[in-house]
């Protein structure tokens, strides 16, 4: 039963993602109809060719597709990490950055932009952001742990405090940023500039295997929704499982944020909406949320590019996501943990 239901949702969402991606690749200063996008993409396969103009082929394959693919893989990662965090905290208000991942990444990124340090292949920025993200998450975890146990409430509050502190560090750096301020601000709003296949591979290489690793733990996530004591009593090693889930979700988030900047709301709203649609069972919720997150961010990115002046995608996700979230809040009872 559940296999059929999961399969149905996954096929449907994958089709939605493909459709959104096709339309999105046509959006921009040069509008290209979806049919032509499709023919260009298919022509990359051996034995097929296209009659699309060469310029359009270049735009789609070299400019638009990497960008669409990056949005997809980042949305996939953030939504999956958000699902895990919400299950972990038994709180539908948890988001992937709740333990300070985004704030840590912001400190790392802004530091690199302001100081002008650079590494070969432009890796300095993502590397610093990734390192900052992991340091922040690990720091929060260590602060919240006592005697081998990590109470969820302490973790949550330590996360809030560390995020505030790191926010102050970022603000301080911005005040002294000088000419780097524009780049820094764009990064903090979730920029999509300079999307390359290299960045896509970078995020995918980290996020996809880790999300696959999470799948065998979806039953444990379900049991954790019962509360720690009950989860333990049905046979889940609560402390060890939670440690693993927190680490994996944080690394996934860090990888996405390091490459794409801070993009709010995807990891909060997508799992939340999917929970209303498919129910709380993580065996179906995790994969469907990941796919829905990919489709949502690809669509948001298309909207960001559609206007006369391009917007950072973080603005679009927040502007669309927040009112929708408030609508849900007023119209459906949000289950409280």
């Amino acid at each position: 039963m559940y296999v059929v239901r999961t399969g149905g949702w996954l096929v449907g969402l994958a089709a939605l993602l493909a459709a959104v991606a096709t339309v999105s690749a046509g959006v921009g200063p040069v509008a290209i109809p979806p049919r032509e996008v499709l023919s260009v993409v298919l022509s990359a396969l051996p034995g097929l060719s296209t009659d699309a103009p060469g310029a359009h082929q270049t735009i789609i394959l070299r400019v638009r597709l990497p960008r669409v693919a990056l949005a997809a893989v980042v949305g996939f990662a953030l939504a999956a990490a958000g699902t895990v965090m919400q299950g972990f905290f038994r709180n539908p208000m948890a988001d992937p950055s709740i333990v300070g991942v985004s704030s840590g990444a912001a400190v790392g990124a802004v530091a690199v932009i302001v100081t002008g340090v650079s590494l070969p292949f432009g890796l300095g920025l993502p590397a610093a952001a990734f390192a900052g993200a992991l340091c922040a998450a690990f720091g929060v975890y260590v602060i919240a742990s006592e005697g081998g146990r990590t109470p969820v409430a302490t973790l949550l509050l330590a996360g809030v405090a560390v995020q505030t502190l790191l926010g102050a560090v970022v603000s301080f750096a911005l005040v002294h940023a000088g000419r780097g301020i524009r780049e820094a601000v764009f990064w903090l709003m979730g920029h999509r500039h300079g999307s390359t296949w290299g960045k896509v591979h970078l995020v995918a290489a980290v996020a996809v295997p880790l999300i696959l690793l999470l799948l065998p733990f979806t039953r444990d996530l379900n049991a954790l929704l019962l509360g720690e004591a009950d989860a333990q009593s049905v046979g889940v090693d609560v402390e060890r499982t939670r440690k693993l889930l927190l680490a994996v979700a944080s690394v996934i988030t860090a990888a996405a944020v390091a490459v794409a900047g801070v993009i709010g709301f995807v990891g909060l709203i997508v799992p939340h909406v999917m929970r209303l649609l498919v129910g709380p069972d993580h065996r179906i919720l995790l994969p469907t949320s990941a796919l829905a997150g990919a489709a949502f961010l690809v669509a948001a990115d298309a909207v960001a590019r559609a206007g006369a002046a391009e917007l950072p995608v973080g603005i679009v996700t927040a502007a669309v996501g927040a009112p929708f979230f408030l609508y849900l809040l007023r119209n459906r009872e949000v289950p409280t943990a």
């Binding site: 038994r90 065998p216 733990f217 039953r219 444990d220 379900n222 049991a223 929704l225 019962l226 509360g227 004591a229 009950d230 333990q232 009593s233 049905v234 046979g235 889940v236 090693d237 609560v238 129910g279 709380p280 069972d281 289950p335 409280t336 943990a337």
Partner: protein
């Protein structure tokens, strides 16, 4: 002689700098229903939680079906003992069948799927706890009594030789109290050992083979209900002036509390010994001393 399903020896537990259990020893064999009774804060819940490893211990030993509980993994523990918690935490909209199936967690490989024997166990557990009709309802949309039965079904699906119940009758109406405890007796008759903390002394006396009276983290009395529920022990543990009689309908013990021990006389001992209704020894049981109806 084989090991009992549960053997607790000289267990000591500290929580928040306070000694909560101080040298507690308990036995439970297959077929037994052991009732934990005692005042609030006596350590009943802590004892159950310490036995499953949910609470750390200072010293002493817990053996679950012959194995030292301290050396068992969460999974191995869950295959030996199932717990029905006092406060159900079923906030998320899982169907009843799925909530019960979570009891199979320790039996299913992480990478495998639930097999036919898991589905059979879940069906049987739901049938046993009379929640089969609710299988497709959401756990958030059923009554408190039904939720209590769903948790019992989850514990049954765990298929363990030992069953812990923490206040199984709290929050239930009289009908469901008796139905639940009658089911508990049936489960013991199947060969399980059941340990239940029960506030209601009359129900404890009626449905348990033996009682353990806890107060201030120590065992004040243990044995048959007749041996444990004496006016002296009740005065000692609960600070009450109580009379013990035999209920003509169930032929089990009935505890009547007359008042706080301090309010019935300046001297507590004297209040207990005061011969108000003749003797306060327990009349002899008619049959085996417990009603099973």
């Amino acid at each position: 002689m084989t090991d009992p399903a549960l053997r607790v020896d000289s267990l000591v537990v500290d929580r928040g700098g306070r000694r909560v259990l101080d040298g507690v020893s308990v036995r439970a064999r297959g077929g037994d229903v052991v009732g934990l009774v005692g005042p609030n804060g006596a350590g009943k819940t802590t004892l159950l939680r310490a036995c499953t490893g949910a609470v750390g211990t200072e010293s002493g030993e817990v053996r679950l079906a012959g194995a030292d509980a301290a050396t068992l993994s969460a999974r191995e523990t869950a295959r030996r003992v199932a717990s029905v918690p006092q406060e159900p935490s079923l906030d998320f909209e899982f169907p009843v069948r799925e909530a019960v199936a979570m009891g199979r967690t320790a039996h299913v490989s992480r990478f495998g799927r639930r097999g036919p024997e898991d589905h059979t166990a879940v069906d049987r557990a739901m049938e046993r706890a009379s929640v089969f009709d609710l299988a497709d309802r959401s756990v958030t949309a059923i009554s408190g009594g039904e939720r209590a039965r769903v948790l019992l079904a989850r514990a049954l699906a765990q298929d363990t030789p030992l069953l812990f119940l923490d206040e199984p009758t709290a929050n239930l109406d009289v009908n469901h109290q008796v139905r639940t405890l009658s089911l508990v007796r049936e489960l013991a008759a199947d060969g399980r050992a059941v340990v239940a903390s029960i506030h209601d002394l009359d129900l404890a006396a009626r449905f348990c083979d033996s009682l353990v009276l806890l107060a201030d983290g120590r065992v004040r009395a243990a044995g048959t209900p007749e041996a444990v529920l004496t006016p002296k022990a009740l005065a000692d543990a609960f600070c009450v002036d109580a009379r013990v009689s035999r209920d003509p309908a169930t032929d089990s013990l009935r505890v009547t509390v007359l008042g706080d021990r301090d309010s019935t006389g300046a001297d507590g001992e004297r209040a207990v010994e005061r011969p108000s209704s003749g003797d306060d020894t327990v009349p002899a049981p008619r049959t085996d001393g417990r009603g099973t109806d």
